[in-house]
Amino acid sequence: MAKKLLAAAVVLAAAACAGFYVVTMPQPIAAAALPAHEPDVANGERLFLAGSCASCHAAPKAEGEAKLVLSGGLELDTDFGLFRVPNISSDPDAGIGSWSDIDFVNAMKRGLSPSGAHLYPAFPYTSYAKMRLADLLDLKAYLDTLPASSNRVAGHDLSFPYSLRRGIGLWKRLYLSEDPVIAVDENDAELMRGRYLVEGPGHCAQCHTPRDAFGGLETDRWLSGAPNPEGKGRIPNITPSDDGIGSWSLSDLTYYFESGFTPDFDSVGGPMVPVQENLAKLPPEDRAAIAAYLKAVPPLGDASDGGNSGGGNGGADNTGG
């Protein structure tokens, strides 16, 4: 009897392990799935600006041309531990200069390293998963034109169980989807463009949408604001409600993206500053599209939870580099 129980337990444990192994397996896109594509570097730059890649990947506090050296090193102090932003410059050893197109696409759309390891979703691939392959190839072509940096960035310091990468495979099954979040009129080209920019490369939801206990975005509270992951304060609600941007006109929104001033002439602040400065460099039709989409998402009030104050009060200062 005891023997039988033990045998059953062993079988069950083995099945559980096998099951875990299977559901957490990386699921890369095959190189053959890439379209034949002549890269458009200018479009790549536009996506680079829309995604504000330099906000995280340039050296902390880089100014001017230095913002194009994606040497990494910014530290993100979160509830899961300390993430260090990697070097994604064109350096073949310290950066991603040796990556193939499919390596880049799998990092962006599937959160996988070239060797097939799961990347932590601090890198917001749950947004980039919604990007078109041709756009990703253009972005890769643009990144290839940027300077190389030999800066070596240390690994992340995460607490158990987040230190186990394999578990991210399971997390992806819950939270990684290429499908759009908000239904919009598919015949409205401006709304479709706005949705693409906001939900995809712009990855606005990564800060403006609250997360559940596992760090996944709560899509039913899309863009309704969230605690500041880096300390004191909140990331604002940007849905068209009274708590959000309900009173803003389309031109208020586009003026804000262009100038950094709200309708009351308060100025943009915090981590939104570099984002706004990049939005200001986009073509005006992209700013108009983003505004149109934000006015079309479901209006939601601020969450009443208010409690989660995040970790510490210092936030990520200009360390690293």
Binding site: R234, S267, V273
Partner: protein, 159 residues
Amino acid sequence: MLRSISLAIAGALTAASVAGFAAHAQDAASGTAGTDDPIKTRQTIMESFGASAKVGGGMIKGEIPYNPAVGQLVLATLDAGAHTFGHYFPEGSDTGDTEASPKIWQDMEGFHAKIGDLQEATAAAVKAKPQDLDAFKATFGKVAKNCKSCHEDYRVEKD
């Protein structure tokens, strides 16, 4: 047209006097740069910044007709605020009903360097006395970029 100009002037004037008097009264009352309610005082000055920027920005956006006297009032108001604002961040005024970031007190030197940049820009703007909208745009822009450069590090949204 006339009405909107006078409204703009009234708005800017009110803001300027509120900021000036608040700062003055507090200084006089305490005899030092300290004050009974530094949070309220600095918020009042910040409101005058907002009201002035709204008039300046409104003229740039074409919502308020441009007038050089109004433009100068905007710049002078910003200049007055820039030279008083920094006095109202004593130790202990980091908690309460405030959007001031704790970083201000961790890095008072960096914070005052930002205020120094703002003072330099507002003083130059007042001196420049722009006489047409294009000149005003350029002058105002040099002042306005200091708003976000400081808010980037030293202001947080309230919980």
